[in-house]
Symmetry: C2
Subunit: 276 residues, 2 copies
C-alpha cells in the first residue's frame, strides 16, 4: 500500500474532468488550488494555437502532462486506417507545439471485426507513427480500456495486451497509460504493472473511482473514495514499479458536470489527499 499523499505536488487534472470550464478558466483555478499538472484534451484547445496554450499553462506554474487523445487506429478500410495515421501525425505535431511529452491513445475497435485483427491494425498504425513520435519527442501511451469498450473504442483491454504491442514495436516512444477505472478488476494487474516498470513502459497513471451502481457506461465515474477501486493500493504498485510521474484525475461525470465546478475542484483535492 502506498503511503498517503500529503501534498498536491503530483496532482494533475484532465481538462475533461471540469468540462464546463474553458482552458482559460480552468488553468488559473487549478493553479490556485495547488494542482501542478494538466492533461489537455484536444477539444479544450480547439481553435487555439497549441504553442500559446502551452505557454499559458506553464506561465501559471503548471506542467503539461499529456495531450488526450490520439488513437482510433483500427478501421475497416485501408483508407480509414491511413487517414487515422495522418490524424495521429497531426496529434503528435499538436502535442509537440503544446509541449506535451506524451499522447494518450484510445486505440480503437471496429464492431464485428475480430479484436485480434483490430490489434494487428493498431500495431501497424503505431509502427508507422513511431518514427514521427521519436523525431517530435512525443511519447505514445496506449491506454488499455475496460472490456465494456471493446466493441467500438478499444481492442486493447488489458495491460498484457498493451505490453504485447509495446514489445512488438520495441520503441522507447511507445508505452502504456494505466487508468484504474479500466484495469482495477484484472487479477494480473500487480504483476503486469511490475512488468511495465521493468520494461520502462509505464508512461501515465490515471485515477478516479467506480461507483455502485454505475448508471452510464461512459459518464458516471466517481471521485476517488466514492467507489470500489483500491486506488491507493494500485498507486503503491505503480510506484513500486518505479513510476514517479503525476497522478492524473480523469473523471467523466454528467452529475459532476451539472454542478458547481469550483466545489468539484475542492472535492477533487480533498479526495486526492484522502483516498489516492
Amino acid at each position: 500500500m502506498a503511503t498517503p499523499l500529503t501534498d498536491t505536488s503530483r496532482l494533475c487534472i484532465h481538462t475533461i474532468t471540469t468540462k464546463p470550464w474553458t482552458l482559460e478558466v480552468a488553468v488559473p483555478r487549478y493553479a490556485a488550488a495547488g494542482v501542478k499538472g494538466v492533461t489537455v484534451w484536444r477539444q479544450a484547445i480547439e481553435g487555439r494555437d497549441p504553442a500559446e496554450a502551452g505557454r499559458m499553462i506553464r506561465d501559471h506554474g503548471l506542467s503539461v502532462v499529456s495531450l488526450c487523445r490520439g488513437g482510433f487506429l483500427a478501421a475497416a478500410s485501408r483508407e480509414g486506417r491511413a487517414s487515422a495515421v495522418d490524424e495521429n501525425r497531426r496529434c503528435i505535431d499538436q502535442a509537440a507545439a503544446l509541449g506535451a511529452p506524451t499522447i494518450v491513445l484510445v486505440c480503437g475497435a471496429v464492431p464485428g471485426q475480430p479484436l485480434a485483427e483490430s490489434r494487428r491494425q493498431i500495431t501497424e498504425g503505431l509502427a508507422e507513427l513511431a518514427a514521427h513520435a521519436a523525431a517530435s519527442g512525443v511519447r505514445l501511451a496506449i491506454e488499455p480500456l475496460h472490456p465494456m469498450y471493446a466493441d467500438d473504442r478499444s481492442a486493447i483491454n488489458t495491460v498484457a495486451q498493451a505490453r504485447a504491442v509495446c514489445r512488438e514495436l520495441g520503441s522507447p516512444w511507445v508505452g502504456v497509460a494505466l487508468d484504474v477505472y479500466h484495469v482495477w478488476w484484472d487479477d494480473s494487474l500487480e504483476r503486469e504493472i511490475e512488468s511495465c516498470g521493468r520494461e520502462g513502459t509505464l508512461f501515465a497513471f490515471h485515477i478516479c473511482d467506480w461507483r455502485t451502481p454505475t448508471t452510464d457506461l461512459l459518464n458516471d465515474r466517481g471521485l476517488m473514495g466514492e467507489g470500489c477501486i483500491p486506488v491507493r493500493r494500485i498507486r503503491g504498485w505503480v510506484e513500486a514499479a518505479g513510476f514517479g510521474g503525476y497522478n492524473e484525475v480523469e473523471i467523466f461525470s454528467n452529475r459532476r458536470w451539472a454542478g458547481d465546478q469550483d466545489l468539484f475542484l475542492a472535492d477533487i483535492k480533498a479526495a486526492y489527499l484522502k483516498h489516492s
Copy 2:
C-alpha cells in the same frame, strides 16, 4: 466456425428473456415456436410449486435446462455468508423439485472488498454446498460475469477464474456456465473453452449479442446478429470442446420487454437460425 443451425432442437430460452410473460403464458408459446428447452428464473416460479411447474413444462414437450440463479456467496460478514449458503441450499432443493439438472450461479462481490477475498469466500461457500448438490443431483454452474459487474455482482470475471474455483473444489457437480455476453472480449477464450471441455466442466452455454452503443449496463442486450459478438464462432469452440447441450437465449432488454413478446419470440427464432 460452427456449421449453421438448421433447426430449433437445441434452442432453449430463459424465462427472463420474455419477462412480461408469466411461466404459464411463456411455455405453451415457446413450445408452439419449436423451442425445446427452458431455463427457469426463480421469480418465474415464485409462489408456485416447483414440481408442478416442472411437470407443466415437460407436459409441453420442453426440457427444464437450468434454474437461474443461485450464488451471491460473497458477503462482508460471517452471518451474511452463512445465510447465502442456506439460500443456495433452498435453491438446490427447488431445482431438484423442478427437475432442473443445473443451477446457474452469479457468484457475488462486495464493493470495496478485494476481489481475491470475494473469490475465496465464493470457493468456501461452494465447498459447503457441493455435497448437497451431489445428493440432490443438481450441478452448480459458475457464470463468469463481465468485468463491468465486478463491483457488486461477481468477483469471477473470466473463464480462467471460474476454472480455478472448479479445480480447487474438484467436484464433478461444480462447473462453468459460459455466456458470450460476459466473455466474448477475452483473448484467451478459445483456449479456456478447450480447457473446460478437457476438464468436463462446460455445463451451460448462453447466447445473445452486444449492441453498439449499449445504453444500459444491465438491460440493453441484443439479439444474436444485432451486435459485435462472434456467436457462431464461439459456438464452434464450445462444440469442439465436446458440449452438446442447449444454446440458451438469455436477453435482458428494456426495449424488447416494452414490445410485443410474440413478435420478439419470432425474432429470436429467426436470429437463432441465422446468426447463432
